[in-house]
């Protein structure tokens, strides 16, 4: 489990551009808490095998490693699962209810029901504000209700808006509620909504609506547009890495980075493949590939300097493997069956190298974190 709070030393000694610019001595050898080793089951298996432990000693090892949750931890886990499951179930009930498009209610009645739910959730969040669980749950439900209300509006009045606009408006209007919730689940849901809007926008390539109005004068090429969507995520990831907040723990930041390079991979593939049926044929888009390469190099360099988590490097390498594979396939133009063997060997070679580098870095960074 990643550390939820940083000890004081981490705040002052972890690498940061701000600290550097102030001329403070930055201890490059220091590794932030989340890289500190916690033994996983596979590693305990390795120790049991290496030292040929019998069952009694294995039991002691598992005890020392606290590898089995206590009864109190199990109850805590159950309670959390039940409460979060309850909130998510209520949220899905609301979405199902709106999606049912029931005919027994008048238009006013439909809106009144959803608006009452929104006001009710907001009132509960005010009465029992986050970080109390009830306040968090109510804020999250208010966020979901906002989306349901927008969907109901579009469904009832047939506004003609693109679907991406619904998600974009939802992300914009729901942001205050997510900020208020101070909850990782709400943050992840917001990231999902925002990225759905971006994916729908990039995928459908519409020529209207809010987002289009902002960028239409720039004549972005498709690959560049998609990579730009990735850049929005990348900027968010960087901001949260530099200024960590409790509502965006490690797993949420990893999710954001995955979204960033999901778009990066999509745009990169499009750029090296020279277009797609949806966008029409085009040439190799060197500018987009260059931008993606810069982003990959920057994330790689930032990660290596921080030495807190190898996940960003894994995502960068995954993007490289896929984009380079497509480029290779296009470069050799599938002349004969040997191309498939070449692609297989390229995949095996690059994934082997990626695995070796990442495992080696994990080992080294962990060792450096060991006092």
């Amino acid at each position: 489990m990643p550390h939820k709070t940083r000890p004081a030393v981490a705040k002052t000694d972890t690498w940061s551009p701000a600290a550097r610019s102030r001329g403070r001595v930055v201890r490059r050898g220091y590794t932030a808490p989340r890289m500190q080793p916690k033994l996983k089951r596979g590693e305990l298996d390795g120790l049991a095998e290496f030292y040929s432990l019998d069952s009694r000693r294995t039991e002691t090892m598992l005890e020392l490693a606290e590898a089995r949750p206590s009864r109190a931890e199990a109850i805590h886990f159950f309670a959390n699962c039940l409460r979060i499951g309850g909130v998510l179930s209520l949220a899905s009930a609301l979405v199902f209810f709106v999606a049912a498009n029931w005919g027994r209610f008048a238009v006013v009645g439909r809106f009144a029901l959803v608006e009452i739910a929104l006001v009710g959730c907001t009132a509960v969040a005010f009465a029992r504000p986050p970080p109390e669980f009830i306040g968090r749950g109510a804020s999250f439900l208010a966020f979901i209700t906002t989306g349901a209300l927008l969907a109901l509006f579009g469904q009832t009045y047939q506004t003609g808006a693109d679907v991406y606009e619904l998600f974009l408006m939802w992300a914009l209007l729901g942001l205050p509620l997510v900020v208020v919730a101070q909850w990782s689940v709400a943050s992840a849901a917001w990231i999902l909504v925002l990225n759905t809007a971006l994916a729908l926008f990039c995928g459908a390539h519409p020529t209207g609506g809010l987002l289009w109005a902002a960028i239409e004068s720039r004549h972005l090429r498709p690959a560049l547009l998609i990579i730009s969507a990735g850049m929005i995520n990348l900027a968010l990831w960087f901001a949260l890495e530099v200024r960590p907040i409790g509502a965006a723990p490690d797993w949420v930041r990893r999710f954001i980075l995955s979204c960033a390079f999901g778009f990066g991979t999509w745009g990169g593939v499009l750029a090296v493949a020279g277009g797609s049926p949806g966008y029409g044929e085009s040439q190799f888009d060197a500018a987009s590939v260059f931008l993606l390469a810069i982003a990959m190099a920057w994330v790689g360099s930032y990660t290596v300097r921080r030495r807190t988590d190898v996940y960003p490097l894994a995502v960068v390498m995954g993007t490289f493997i896929i984009v380079s594979l497509v480029w290779l396939g296009r470069a050799v133009e599938f002349r004969d069956e040997g191309t498939f063997l070449l692609l297989a060997l390229w995949l095996v070679g690059t994934s082997t190298a990626a695995g070796a580098i990442l495992t080696s870095l994990t080992r080294r960074w962990r060792k450096a974190a060991d006092p």
Binding site: L39, S55, P69, A79, S89, A99, F340, L347
Partner: protein, 332 residues
């Protein structure tokens, strides 16, 4: 899990006499889960490319030749794994060749059989064989996952036989004469999942026993494969329609059958509990993701109207919240 660093932990083991004072330090760094995922996915894709290359280069067409080729690839993969377990490139190549071999053997079998049940059962046997024989954790874990999927299909096809060429559906989306009539659906579910749940629980409960013996090389991948299979396998049990509840039942009034897809969520959460017991955040995360995907399937699956589904979820949500809050109060 203890927050002691690796070397602190080794010192604790020495102090408690678990390992001798003079024992050399172990180098026990496991690949992070995302590295295993990256390499596994790349191995899979490479395996498909290898198979296409061999198929085109050697123009293999008869089922016997395909089966023989697949078997040869599997033996080659086994030999590569055995040759040098520390050679990472060779391991990754062996994974690709092993996957190509499994596809080829599976293709050979599926082409031969007119009935889907023997095909599913043979795939189950093949995956169990790979699990036992291949001396590699990634290969064994993948085999365990696919063995679970093959088990789900085998039981489903055993109790709900389908006509020959319809692998996922019966003709016209109807299962052909379920053996146990209306009880087929719940009995299929029980026969499929209860043994898997029991086996998973047994593996977790007896972890100390198998960790201290050579069984760990099989049991760990099996446990991971079972936990993943519990999360995802239920989607195979009812690919699009819900068992024998036919498409014409879409939007029907509420019946208890409407609750059936929610059992997939329950299975995913059982897997989440298993992941919690073995302290695996990666498996816990994938279980939560699977539960959310099953919820999306519940939305799209036929069975009853959305209004009823909404009511079911509202009641379930209220019950879960109440239970969670009560448990939390007791905890405090």
């Amino acid at each position: 899990m203890s927050s002691a660093t690796f070397f602190e932990f080794i010192a604790q083991l020495r102090a408690r006499g678990v390992i001798p004072d003079q024992a050399p330090p172990a180098d026990a760094v496991e690949r992070p889960w995302f590295v295993a995922l990256l390499q596994g996915a790349a191995g899979w894709l490479a395996g498909i490319f290898v198979l296409v290359f061999i198929g085109l280069a050697f123009r293999v067409e008869s089922t016997g030749a395909i089966f023989t080729l697949g078997s040869f690839l599997l033996v080659s993969a086994w030999a590569m794994y055995r040759a040098d377990s520390t050679a990472v490139f060779l391991d990754q190549l062996a994974l690709a060749i092993s996957i190509a071999g499994q596809f080829a053997v599976g293709w050979g079998i599926l082409k031969n059989y007119q009935s889907t049940l023997p095909a599913a059962a043979t795939m189950l046997a093949l995956q169990v064989l790979v699990l036992i024989v291949m001396p590699n954790k990634t290969a064994r874990t993948l085999a365990a996952v696919f063995a679970t999927v093959a088990w789900v299909f085998t039981i489903r096809l055993l109790l709900q036989p389908l006509s020959g060429e319809q692998f996922l559906f019966g003709e016209g989306h109807q299962a052909a004469a379920p053996l146990l009539g209306a009880w087929t659906v719940p009995i299929t579910w029980l026969v499929t999942w209860v043994p898997l749940l029991a086996f998973t629980a047994w593996l977790i409960r007896n972890e100390t026993y198998w960790m201290s013996s050579g069984l760990r090389a099989y049991a760990r991948p099996l446990l991971i494969g079972l936990l993943l299979g519990l999360q995802l396998g239920s989607a195979d049990a009812m690919p699009i329609d819900i068992f024998s509840l036919r498409l014409e039942h879409g939007g029907m009034p509420f019946s208890w059958w409407a609750l059936f897809p929610l059992l997939s969520v329950a299975l995913a959460m059982a897997s989440a509990y298993g992941a919690f017991l073995v302290r695996s955040n990666a498996l816990l995360g994938s279980a939560v993701l699977a539960a959310l995907l099953h919820m999306a399937r519940f939305y799209y699956l036929y069975g009853t109207t959305l209004m009823w589904k909404s009511l079911i979820m509202a009641l379930a949500g209220a019950a879960l919240l109440l239970a969670g809050v009560t448990l939390r109060k007791r905890e405090q």
